[in-house]
Every structure is written in C-alpha cells, then in structure tokens.
C-alpha cells in the first residue's frame, strides 16, 4: 500500500465530487436545507390544521332529552360548539364528517338528577377523526362542569365540605432533568435520522465511483496505472466515507440549529404563557426539553464505524453491478434493511441489552437514545463500538477482496 497513491486518488475523487451537482445536493442540500425545511413545513402545517380546527366550533346534535329543557338551553348557549337538530341519518353524517358528534340525553334526565337516581349521557363520535375528537372534548368538558355543579349542590344540601366527595388529590411532578426528558422525546428520532442520512449519503457516490466508472470506461483507465488495487479501493472508500460523514455533520448542525431556534421559540412562548398566568419569569423555560451535548458527541463517535460499514458495504455491492441502474436496483432495497432496525429502536419497550448490543444499526440506535438522555452505559457502549468496528473491518476487507476480482472489475 502507498499512502501517496491513496491520497492522490482520494483528492481527485473529492475534486470530482465537489463538481458534481448530484453529490452536492445529497451531501449539503438535503441534510442542511431540505430535511429541516420538510420538518418545518410539516410542523407548521400540522400546527395550522390543529389551530384552524380548534378555531371552528364543531357541529353537534342532541338526541332525546325533550323533558330536560335546562340541558338543551345550556348546550345551545355553550360557545364551544354549534348545536343543530339531530337528523335521522346522524350516524352516516358523523362518518361523512358533516356532523362531528351526537350527544344522547336519556328520558327524564333532569328528573333523575333531582331524584338523585343514576343516569347516563352517551356521546357518539368518529374515532381518530381530529374534529370529532375536539367535539367529544368540548362535550365532556360541558357535562363534567355540570356534574361538578350538581355534586356541589348535593354536598351543600347536606352541609358537607367539597373534600367529602374528593378526599384526596392526585398530582404529578417531573423530576427528570430536561436533557433526559429531551433525550426520551427526541432520543430515538435523532439517531434514526442520522443513520438514515448516513446510509443514503453513501449510495450515490458508491455507485458513481464503481458501477458508474465501469459504465463510463474510466475504471479501466485507472486500473492500468501503477496504483495498486488496494490504494484505488481505499481512495474511493475514503471519498464515500467523507461524503457520508459530511452528510451526517450537515444534518447534525442543521438539527442543532433547528432545535436552538425551536427552543428559543418555545422559551418565548413559555415565558409568555407564564406571564399571562401570573407566574414568575422563566417558569415556562424550565419545562423546555434539552439534549445532552456530550451525548451528541457520543452519537457521532458511534455513527463513525457505522459509516465505515455502510461505505464499504455499498462500494462492494455497487462494484459488483455492471451498470449504475443495476447498482441502484441492488442498493435501493437496502434502505429498508437499514431503516427497519433503526426504526425498531424508536419503539417503546425496546431497551438496550447485551444481545441487542451486537445487532448492527439497532445497537447504535438504542445506544444513541441513551446517550442523548445523558446516560452512559459504558460496558454496552464498548461492546457496541467494538462489534460495529469488527463489522466495518469485515465489510472493508470484503470490499478490497471484491476489488481484486477481475471477473467483477471487467464484468460489463
């Protein structure tokens, strides 16, 4: 091996890559601009949809309760929804989203309340439909308030305190630090995105430098130079790795910037909410989820051997192909192979253990989830880093071996 030749090949590949629009798009534009823009637009759109849905009072109908005029009047006076007469096909109308919910008031409802007899109000709705959900929420709030008033009247009539019917309160308080809350919230998502970008980042350069060169006839030109096949494959591998890591770095920078900007917005809105509620400054900011910065460094260290594994694996597979199209056919399905274990790490209840620490991709996802929460399980981290290094070394050895096979190099 001659380092001079490896670096010469790497520099030339880098120069070509930086002049290639497609590489620049996948290396810089996608992770730094397009991905954050997609998330921003998606977030904004979701926020607007929910805001608009909340701004429009849902249309509901009331069934029965003719002998309970008080409830009818109170429902119609409620600004949280619009009450219409119940049509005969109210079930179809709920399913067609023309009616958001229907509340059924039983016969003698008010008389039952007065006689302290048990009674039941039933709400019909469309499960999973956003506006129907809002309507159910508003109806629940309305009847809960009404139930509290009835209860308060009954207690007062017996001269009993409010605590008679509510002997104790149940309150919850978060004791986990903000970085752990943040890690738990975003911890699975960040490595998932990084691993996905790390893999998608290697696909185009790996294809271009192997099957692409075969197709264009430049691989034979390079092979007839005195550079050894090992130097050639290492030079190409370094370029694919560089593109992949640059993609990851760009996405990390853009994600950090997005979190900071998003965090500032949340801090601002938290303070505003706190001030409106009469609380002291910063009360809203204290609830802001954060990520452990050292954990993010740990994520990068763990992703490094994974990037080597991806780069070497993609080069090996792409080299085997005759054409770029054939290489794409081989590599595109592998995105799913990478996504599945990365996604499995997002599932609740999947926890890091000694066995999962040996499963490629999944082990890094689970470890990253811990790291961004500020948890450092050193024993498992060493196992994960070591095993991923072994897989990466095996993939690189396979790539070098593939590059020495003339049946593959001249397979056109």
């Amino acid at each position: 091996m001659k380092l001079r030749d490896t670096l010469t090949i790497f520099r030339k590949e880098l120069r070509e890559a930086l002049r290639d629009r497609r590489t620049l798009v996948s290396m810089f534009l996608v992770p730094a601009v397009i991905m954050p823009a997609i998330f921003f637009l998606f977030g904004t759109a979701t926020y607007q949809v929910v805001k608009n849905a909340k701004a429009q009072p849902p249309v509901i109908a009331v069934l029965g309760g003719v002998d309970s005029p008080g409830v009818h009047v109170a429902l119609k006076a409620e600004p949280g929804f619009i009450v219409v007469a119940a049509p005969d096909d109210w079930r179809e109308r709920i399913a067609d989203k023309r009616l958001r919910a229907v509340v059924e008031i039983p016969a003698g409802f008010e008389r039952s309340l007065a006689e302290q007899a048990p009674t039941e109000v039933k709400i019909y709705h469309y499960e999973g439909e956003l506006k129907s959900g809002f309507a159910v929420g508003e109806l629940r709030r309305f009847f809960n308030e009404r139930r509290q008033r009835v209860l308060a009247d009954r207690l007062a009539a017996r001269e009993l305190p409010a605590s008679f019917a509510r002997p104790f309160e149940i309150n919850t308080e978060n004791v986990a630090p903000p970085e752990k809350v943040g890690g738990n919230t975003f911890g699975g998502f960040i490595p998932y995105l990084l691993i996905l970008l790390c893999f998608t980042g290697v696909i185009y350069p790996a294809i271009d430098l192997t099957a692409g060169e075969k197709e264009r006839g430049t691989l034979e030109t390079l092979l007839c130079s005195p550079a050894s096949r090992l130097d050639i494959v290492l030079g190409k591998f370094l370029l694919v790795l560089t593109v992949s890591l640059t993609t990851v770095a760009c996405s990390l920078v853009s994600m950090t910037a997005s979190l900071l900007v998003g965090g500032l917005v949340m801090v601002g809105s938290g303070r505003m909410a706190a001030q409106l509620g009469g609380a002291s400054d910063g009360a809203g900011a204290a609830a802001l989820p954060m990520l452990d910065p050292m954990g993010l460094v740990g994520v990068v260290v763990l992703v490094l051997p994974l990037a080597v594994l991806f780069a070497a694996g993609a080069l090996t597979i792409a080299l085997f192909a005759r054409t770029q199209k054939e290489a794409q056919t081989y590599l595109a399905p592998l995105v799913a192979v990478v996504i599945l274990p990365a996604f499995a790490g997002l599932l609740p209840g999947v926890e890091l253990n000694a066995t999962l620490a040996l499963v490629p991709v999944l082990n890094v996802t689970l470890a990253c989830k811990e790291l961004v929460s500020g948890v450092w399980p050193w024993g498992q981290l060493v196992l994960i880093f070591g095993s991923t290094c072994v897989y990466a070394a095996a993939a690189l050895a396979g790539c070098v071996r593939m590059f020495s096979r003339e049946s593959v190099l001249f397979r056109t």
Partner: protein
C-alpha cells in the same frame, strides 16, 4: 520489449463452461517496432493486451514487458507501460491539465516533472487552448489528444494500444496513426491491436493474426504475403482465419 510465451487465459462461464479466450500465444516485439495484432471481434486481442498491461492475470504461460514479468511484478510493468484503448475513457469533471497531473502522480512523478511533461505534451499535441477546460466539454479529437497525453505522461518504454481508433472520425484516427509512428521513431516498443487492415498495412512492422484465441500466423507483411500467396492483407486474413464469416 515485449515477449509473450505460451500465454493462455481461461474464463469460466456458468452456461458455456470453460472458455479459452487466449490459447498458447507467443510473440516478441522489439523496441522501435510496431507489432500489429490483427483479429476479428472476440478473437482474443483485448484479453491478450489486458494480460500484457497486467489488468488481468494469465492462466498459463508468461510474459515479460520492459524487462518485468507481468505475473510477479505487475506494478513495475504498469509503471513502464502506456495503455490506450477505446474502452479507456477520461474523467469528464476534470480538466485536461488535471487529468495529466493525476496520472503523472499515480505514475510516481514529482510536481516539477509533471509540470514539465504537461508543457511538453501540450505543445507536441497542440492542447494549449483547451488544457484548462473540463473534459466533458471536449470534442472527440480533444479527448483523443488528452488520452494520448495521459498515456505518455510518464514517458513509458512500451505502448499497448487496443483498437485506439475505434469510434473515431477520420481526422482523429489519423492523429492516432501519426502519434503511433512518432512513438516508434522515438524507439518505443508498440503493440497495436486492430481489425482494420489498412491501419496494419500503414503502421505495423510485424503482424500476428489471432483467431479463436490462437495466434494462427505471424511475420512481416512481406513474409505473410509470400507464405499465403496473396497481396491483399484482407485475403490473407480470411485464408488464415478459415474462411468467410457467416452473416
């Protein structure tokens, strides 16, 4: 100098079994001479030249190129050989100067030597006006000149040229023929494969007719004419190759 002795190459194919692409081929090419390897498509020319350029390893026999054995010292062989083929293309996103520089470095030249060779080749080949333009904007002729400069950057003793005029227009092909003659005049050993008879007649000092992987006839043009009783090289080729092809 190139000396091939009983050179053989076997390929294994799942459907067709073992294929003898090159079968017991022996020939010698001296410095300052052009050896023409004449054969139809699939005759074994490219495989023979790829073995001499150490792109693929021989299955049997041996070859010594510029004093180095192709099997035991492939890197030294490649450092002494300039290989140009229709299938050896250029990097579209590099300029001509960057291409020459890249292959100069891979051939172990230092920066000063690369700069000197670039200047010399650019002048000899008339590349000055497009030296700093990207290859993907080049005409066929410009690409051909850049390929020649890439092949000669390390001033190799031996030139292996595999159908270098394939797909070129008349002017570009004439440029190649002129370049090959100049190389011979400079004392380089040249092996030139083609299926174009006129090129062989114009250029080659000795000719080997290869067919079905075997070297069926070899000699100077005059020797071949005398041996086969024909003036026309195409007629000699058809006689040696065993008759007209079925179309």
């Amino acid at each position: 100098m190139i000396a091939a002795r009983h050179l053989t190459k076997l390929f294994r194919d799942k459907k067709r079994g073992e294929i003898r692409a090159v079968d017991d081929v022996s020939f010698t090419c001296e410095p300052g001479r052009i050896y023409g390897l004449l054969g139809a498509n699939g005759a074994g020319k490219t495989t023979t030249l790829r073995m001499l350029a150490t792109l693929i390893a021989p299955s049997g026999g041996e070859a010594v190129v510029a004093g180095c054995d192709v099997a035991t010292h492939p890197a030294q062989v490649r450092a002494r050989v300039g290989f140009l083929a229709a299938s050896t293309a250029l990097y579209g996103r590099l300029t001509a100067r960057e291409t020459i520089h890249y292959f100069g470095r891979l051939n172990g030249l230092d920066e000063a030597r690369i700069a000197a060779r670039t200047a010399t080749l650019a002048e000899e080949l008339g590349m000055a006006e497009f030296l700093d333009r990207r290859v993907d904007t080049f005409s066929t002729g410009m690409k051909q000149k850049t390929s020649i400069a890439r092949t000669l950057v390390h001033d190799p003793e031996v030139l292996i040229l595999d159908e270098p005029t394939l797909g070129l227009d008349v002017m570009a092909a004439r440029g190649i023929v002129r370049f090959v003659r100049e190389c011979r005049a400079r004392g380089k050993t040249v092996i030139y494969s083609t299926h174009i008879m006129s090129e062989v007649e114009k250029l080659c000092d000795r000719v080997g007719i290869i067919h079905g992987g075997k070297l069926l006839a070899e000699g100077t043009l005059d020797e071949l004419r005398e041996r086969h009783g024909e003036r026309d090289l195409e007629e000699i080729f058809v006689k040696v190759a065993g008759g007209e092809a079925v179309v």
